[in-house]
């Protein structure tokens, strides 16, 4: 049964919701483990069904290599988030709400990955968005969290409206919402100005989710304000959902309009990576810096749309996977530091994720510092990490396609990004700590161990070949 992973995720969410009602805050800690188990089961089921292809529900849902791969990404992200959140939700009365929302959001992302019909895609997209709106504001006593949630909600809703408006034109021109049928009937879109309008609207709609400049305004605020575990979910999961939806809609459905959106993505990719990196240099809040660096990374992934060779798509998809782990891990370590600062009142409580809180982390929380170092080096693309492998494939594909200038821009950006990543490492290792050694929270030890292997390169071999399958199908 190819839908087993989705069913497992939703069922876990429902069970948590049901039994959570009858539990006391203390016993609710168990729910985190339950969610983790459910996600692990879904992961196992996904891996087990790898390679199967199926179309179901009258062709609205199709399981192929791309969707399986992204399902894996989303499940892995939510696994990280749910493990990290065990400590975050310790003795809270709202554990069941948190986990249910996380699981539902994951379900939405998974359905987006395999949606083959725009109606289903939009519904699932909204599911993931709605669940994360509430998650972003989960610390409702914290004005920052609320503000982030509010901005995320408004801009997310506007983007949904834009997307729906764009979809309506695509539907009007082709008379169908099924993605393969749109691809087959795209004559009207290519011959008329409405095709361009639809592309612009859809790019804006997905661009908000992918946080491409100039649709990025919500991202830094939301990533900074939200609880760190949620930031990890947003940056690592929700953003990838934007990409997988864009892969489906642009590369498959609107393939005939390629020249139009290719140009748009070229501009967006270059502007996004440059803007993200330049602004990140000036940040003093680590989560905000990670948010801007996340913009830059989105710019790199968007290069896949620009180059559009099988190699570039492989690179883009692989980068999405690597980025999910690197960025998710980095946010979780930042969350650990914020947790330490706020619970032990050892630093700037106004901006708990200030760079100063990371001073001497190598001594106070050696494990967290080491993990963070690995993650930021992976983000900077230093070998031997998966970040390097992904950049290697992606950037080299642009050269293969003859766009050397784009590769040069990307590589220069990559070098620039090293500057602020290295600054963070400097704060962690080379400046004297302000506090004494503290305990590493958030089940971080286990969690980082989980992610290290993925940040190291040997994970790359099988993944490359797996995403290669998809490219062969589509071309």
């Amino acid at each position: 049964m190819s839908l087993a992973p989705e069913i497992a995720v939703v069922a876990t969410g429902l069970i948590i919701l049901l039994i959570g009602v009858f539990m006391s805050p203390r016993t609710k800690n168990v729910l985190g483990y339950l969610a983790t188990l459910g996600i692990l089961a879904a992961l196992a089921l996904t891996i087990e069904s790898f390679g199967t292809e199926a179309t179901m529900f009258s062709g609205t849902l199709s399981i192929d290599a791309l969707s399986q791969f992204f399902k894996l990404v989303f499940l892995a992200v939510s696994l990280i988030v749910s493990v990290a959140a065990i400590k975050y939700n310790e003795n809270s009365d709202h554990t069941e709400e948190f986990y249910t929302l996380v699981l539902f959001a994951t379900f939405g992302m998974m359905v987006v990955a395999s949606a083959n019909d725009l109606i289903l895609l939009f519904c699932a997209f909204e599911l993931a968005s709605l669940a994360t709106y509430a998650l972003a504001g989960f610390e409702k006593q914290n004005p920052r969290s609320l503000e982030g949630a509010m901005k995320y909600f408004i801009i997310g809703s506007v983007s949904a409206a834009l997307m729906l408006f764009g979809i309506s034109f695509v539907y009007g021109a082709t008379g169908t919402t099924s993605i393969p049928e749109i691809a087959a009937n795209s004559a009207l879109l290519t011959q008329n100005p409405i095709g361009l309008v639809a592309v612009v609207l859809l790019i804006a709609g997905f661009g908000f989710k992918m946080a491409l400049v100039p649709f990025h305004m919500w991202a830094p605020d939301t990533y900074q304000g939200s609880p760190s575990v949620v930031s990890a979910l947003l940056a690592a999961g929700s953003k990838k959902m934007g990409f997988v939806a864009a892969f489906r809609v642009f590369i498959v459905a609107l393939a005939a309009l390629q020249p139009d959106w290719q140009l748009a993505f070229t501009i967006l990719a270059v502007v996004t990576m440059t803007f993200g990196n330049v602004v990140a240099v000036a940040q003093t809040s680590v989560k905000r810096m990670l948010a801007y660096s996340s913009l830059a990374q989105a710019g790199y992934i968007a290069m896949a749309f620009v180059v559009m060779t099988p190699m570039a798509l492989t690179g883009g998809i692989f980068y999405a996977l690597a980025h999910a782990f690197m960025k998710g891990g980095a946010f979780i370590v930042a969350g650990a530091v914020v947790w330490m600062v706020t619970t032990q009142r050892t630093g700037n409580l106004e901006v708990p994720d200030h760079l100063d809180s990371f001073r001497g982390l190598g001594k106070t929380m050696p494990f967290a510092a080491l993990s963070m170092t690995i993650f930021v080096f992976a983000l900077a693309g230093i070998p031997p990490t998966a970040g390097f492998m992904a950049k290697f494939v992606l950037f080299s594909s642009t050269i293969q396609a003859g766009m050397t200038w784009l590769a040069v821009v990307a590589i220069l950006n990559s070098a620039l990004s090293l500057f602020y990543y290295a600054r963070l490492v400097k704060y962690m290792y080379f400046l004297p700590p302000k506090v004494k050694r503290s305990v590493c929270p958030f089940h971080l030890q286990q969690l980082s161990c989980l992610q290290w292997p993925v940040c190291w390169l040997w994970a790359s071999g099988p993944n490359l070949s797996c995403s290669g399958q998809w490219k062969q199908q589509r071309y």
Partner: protein, 83 residues
């Protein structure tokens, strides 16, 4: 997000212009005549059939959406713990 009114007005105007130009400049494939007979216009049955057959997957997803928004809205709107 708050931008000043003239700029917002220009943006909105541009937007209308682009979309209207796109929509009017397109030769849509339309049916020659809309059904005039009220009996032919009734589509409740058709929509119902579609929702429960062809579009059952989005329908199921929608149920989860409603549940998620219910949880989220209730959680956010509940007053305890606030100042």
């Amino acid at each position: 997000m708050q931008i000043n009114r003239p700029l917002a007005f220009i943006v909105a105007l541009l937007f209308t212009g682009v979309v209207v130009l796109g929509a009017f400049g397109t030769s849509w494939n339309t049916v020659s005549e809309l059904p005039q007979n009220p009996a032919d216009q009734s589509n409740i049955e058709g929509i119902g059939m579609l929702i429960f057959t062809h579009y059952v997957a989005p329908f199921e997803v929608l149920s989860i959406v409603l549940l998620a928004s219910l949880i989220g809205a209730i959680y956010m709107a509940k007053g305890e713990g606030n100042r």
